[in-house]
Point group: C2
Amino acid sequence: MENFHIETWSGLSSGGITAVPGFKVAGIHCGIRKNKDKRDLALVLADKLCSAAAVYTTNKVKGAPIMLTIEHLKNGKARAFLCNSGNANTAAPGGLAAAVEMVNAAAKELNIKPSEIIVNSTGVIGFPLPVDAIVAGMPKLVKSLSRDNIPAAEAIMTTDTFAKSWAAQFELGGKTVTIGGIAKGSGMINPNMATMISFLATDCSISPEMLQKALKSSAAISYNQVSVDGDTSTNDMCAILASGTAKNPKIESEDEDYEKFLTALNVINLKLAKDIARDGEGATKLLICRVNGAASAEDAARLSKAVISSSLVKSAMFGADANWGRELCAMGYSGANFDPSRVDISFSSLVGDVQVCKQSTGVNFDETLAKNILSEKEITIDVGLSDGKYNAEAYGCDLTYDYVRINGDYRT
Amino acid sequence: MENFHIETWSGLSSGGITAVPGFKVAGIHCGIRKNKDKRDLALVLADKLCSAAAVYTTNKVKGAPIMLTIEHLKNGKARAFLCNSGNANTAAPGGLAAAVEMVNAAAKELNIKPSEIIVNSTGVIGFPLPVDAIVAGMPKLVKSLSRDNIPAAEAIMTTDTFAKSWAAQFELGGKTVTIGGIAKGSGMINPNMATMISFLATDCSISPEMLQKALKSSAAISYNQVSVDGDTSTNDMCAILASGTAKNPKIESEDEDYEKFLTALNVINLKLAKDIARDGEGATKLLICRVNGAASAEDAARLSKAVISSSLVKSAMFGADANWGRELCAMGYSGANFDPSRVDISFSSLVGDVQVCKQSTGVNFDETLAKNILSEKEITIDVGLSDGKYNAEAYGCDLTYDYVRINGDYRT
């Protein structure tokens, strides 16, 4: 991908889905969760039928709602996202029937076709979905549709600690186009050719084929480069609706407008992906591994992801310990092709940077400076190779006592 | 592999290498570690030149001693193991020269050829090996060679909490044959086609080719089925010396005697592998995942290993939480071939067993019984498939606060 600075990209805002004209959003507590203060049902509705695209988990065990959505999106068209938290509706008795029932209830209340709804569920695996609570809550959910995006971003959260919401605005053929999205993490996060849950909306005019192509390409460099714990969920989904109301010249091939759209989509997906990593279960730090000089794009992606996925690297980062042998070790077992005798490694953060390894050999460095750098909230691990011209980034978080605490007793 | 109960296998003892006639062992503190009570240099010596075999890490970044040992074992002959802890001699300035220097010092003191020595180092990566301390300690090390195996088992320990030592005795052609070994874990443990450090000795008469074949086959079902943290070390090694002094008819083909030898070797390697898992960094529990009814041996191995490698499964086991959806999820992303709609899952331990999932759907179970079962020190996760006749086991441990503590500040 082209190198651009997403943090300073001009059109960026935290507006999320409701930054996009023509989309309404709702999030309520319907009763799946015991805690009445925790929203557990989300809905996104477009004013009109949209081009739609999605990428899904590659886990062989797929949630019932994923299987239903795959059916619904065969024609590349949809109008709504519907999602509950608190129960994944996966490996549960009557799962597919429950997914159909919640979709039918929403379709009836919204007066649209069930096949126009993209549906998902997130939470614990293996328990029957309390579909009666969802059906009973549907009138309230639809009534609360508004131009505020946060209730829905909150309603899809599981162990997340903050709502994730970003929007980007740009020009296409003289028209203003907006893309916005919401996403959730924060455990069982190791998206593979797909993602955890991310719902995106745009008013861009674009064919379903080009939309699918852009989404797949963008997920590969954003969500698929995130790992919190190496566990690829059964319910990963990233889906997008494109209403076309921006009236830009319709994107139907990989032309210049497609590239502009893809760049904006990348900005949003990278912002959401980094938020997911930053808010990984128990995390205190965002880790970014940048690999430069790899022999291929695939090698660069694999090396960077291996580094941020290593439990040893993650624990060392928690302790602000510049134990760089663990980065080198993770690269070595990644399966990627590289020259193991010519690796440079540096750490950096807001307070400075320090080189710790040159040509695969330890160098003397200032341990106090290193400790200070690694004590910040956002750490970059720079890996320099001498194998070629390819770069990649991956996004992770530290491994902490709280990760163990959260996952030692998730169900109670 | 044939199903046999290693815990009740008749010839088993904890004698280790010195249960084998003709082998002497030493372990001392030479000064690599600051703590004078912690041994850091180990030596194993055979009375005569032996058939020798080894398997190594598949990490692209390999420790300098591994590269030297590969050279030394080209002729399939060796007489000694030499190993320090406290420093891995990997990605360190002058690493290969330091490995040569420590081997030369031992060869001189023992009056054998340097090429007859199998050498390794374990500990932190990236710092120069304090080879002067090793060379200075060599006379003391050689002088302390004895028929007690524990000092050496202790001298190769890093964050291990107990010495790992097992021996097996059996009959071949009317002769008594013994195999013994020592091993160390306990972090950066995810052996792949190789192992962490395990040194084995036998008096069996066997050709180097058959010895290598048996070792590779045995490592595949023992060490390679262990994971503590998914990190494949740079210095993994499992090596064996076979002196031939048992005078059994020499094993030179895959005959009945080879099978008997392999069974005994499997017993020792499985005992050591389970000890490594049990003593994983911060672990409070040994996890065993048994997969039955897989379509192929590879699928069975991959599925069982995915289950015990999952950070979510490991955290749930620490909390004695019967959150079986995590096992199903890990199987789904393992890459193995299986029917995801026909999976049975049960948990068992000393106090009982409980089925939690039948045909990929949750069943009602006694939560109190499940909690009691999962509160034991050794937990078996039984996975039943309907895909074929292949079985496998994998060995892991829980993920605990102590894992994070140990690895948050390993170097200090």
